[in-house]
């Protein structure tokens, strides 16, 4: 797996805004960001209202994904370039989600909206419409998606990577610090999980660190690359970012994202939870 196959630079994106077969897609929970200004030609996908089933806590099914992409004007042969705010959290989540349903050509814009804005590149409020397509999805690729029973079985046996901030890992905070903290579930982390915050894989401008830096990071934190890995966070979007770093950039063969993440695990009755930093002597 090489970086050029899965990441594009802002320069590349800027040069390919009008290229046939390249579709830029902004993915944010906060769709007002897109409406206030987006990369020229980019369409938007709302991860919450469009990628989630609105009743069951799960993704839209294969037919729902086909309808969504058809309506958005994305074809099976299109190269989809995803970007978004929050350091590409939701764009990485959408990347993983597109892979789950078998889209072959999907890439992330390195640095996402932040890098684009810090560079002072053009944003527009022009409306974008694309002719609809007839999209065909694959069955979900469960080799990249972990569910709760598998996560419990992985305790002490496989790499579990908790990519939340240290204070969420220890149980001091229950959510990222830009959100109110009043939540019902228990705090802490899955026993035996390593805490490697997603942010360690990114530079300040939102771009991914180099492969060498990433190898040093995960190796230094004790990730055993002879074992398979499950990444999780609070709702599965930050862990998509780490899944991308491990599976797509470093080429680790067996990496799953646990999208149920802490909001599911921390609400399960009777499962083991560990609190504190998880590091001996601290």
């Amino acid at each position: 797996m090489s970086r050029e196959n899965v990441l594009v630079t802002a320069d590349w994106a800027e040069q390919n805004l009008d290229t046939d077969g390249v579709v830029l897609v902004e993915v944010d929970e906060d769709t007002t960001a897109y409406d206030a200004g987006h990369i020229p030609g980019a369409i938007k996908i709302n991860w919450k209202t469009e990628l989630q089933d609105q009743v069951t806590r799960d993704f839209v099914d294969k037919g729902g994904f086909e309808k969504l992409l058809s309506d958005k004007g994305i074809g099976n042969d299109d190269t989809v370039v995803l970007y978004g705010g929050n350091n590409n959290w939701f764009a990485a989540y959408a990347y993983w989600y597109f892979k789950l349903y078998g889209h072959s050509e999907v890439k992330l814009l390195d640095g996402g909206r932040k890098k684009w804005e810090l560079d002072g590149r053009t944003l527009t409020t022009d409306e974008v419409s694309r002719p609809s397509t007839s999209y065909t999805a694959q069955e979900q690729d469960r080799s990249i998606r972990a569910f709760r029973d598998e996560v419990i079985e992985a305790i002490g046996a496989r790499n579990l990577v908790d990519v939340r901030s240290p204070d969420e890992f220890s149980g001091k905070l229950l959510a990222p610090a830009h959100l109110p903290q009043e939540q019902a579930q228990r705090g802490g982390h899955i026993p035996s999980a390593l805490n490697v915050p997603w942010s360690k894989a990114a530079n300040e401008d939102g771009t991914f660190k180099s492969d060498e830096e990433l190898r040093t990071l995960y190796g230094g934190e004790g990730l055993d690359d002879s074992k398979s890995t499950i990444a999780y966070c609070r709702i599965g979007e930050r862990s998509s970012h780490t899944w991308f770093a491990l599976h797509e950039l470093l080429g680790h063969a067996d990496v799953k994202n646990y999208d149920g993440s802490w909001t599911e695990y921390g609400s399960l009755v009777g499962v083991p939870i560990e609190v504190g930093s998880g590091k001996a002597g601290s």
């Binding site: 705010g85 929050n86 901030s165 610090a177 830009h178 959100l179 009043e182 915050p197 942010s199």
Partner: protein
């Protein structure tokens, strides 16, 4: 939900400042507020904790916990940071200058 809510100085209804530790303030440059700046909350060890984008009037807000924090702002016009100690829950005002 992990998407950042709209940033204002006004707190969401029901925010209990006897239990919540709120860090809020503005990013400015030469006395003028800076909208659209990326504001990063770093914990006592310098580790990234959260990031929001300032409103048009330069406002940002974090829900944190008592402790040592650094608020660092990035903008195409420049970067800057301010250290803050929140000794107890309540409202803590932080001003950040970028240059």
């Amino acid at each position: 939900m992990c998407g950042a809510p709209e940033q204002t100085q006004e707190l969401p209804p029901g925010t209990d400042l006897t239990t919540q530790t709120v860090l809020t303030g503005t990013v400015h440059s030469g006395g003028e507020p800076v909208g659209g700046a990326f504001v990063r909350l770093l914990d006592g060890s310098g580790e990234f904790t959260a990031e929001v984008v300032t409103s048009a009037s330069g406002d940002f807000r974090f829900f944190a916990a008592p402790g040592e924090w650094t608020v660092r702002a990035l903008h195409r016009s420049g970067n800057g940071e301010t250290a803050v100690t929140a000794e107890r829950p309540g409202l803590h005002v932080v001003e950040v200058e970028v240059a």
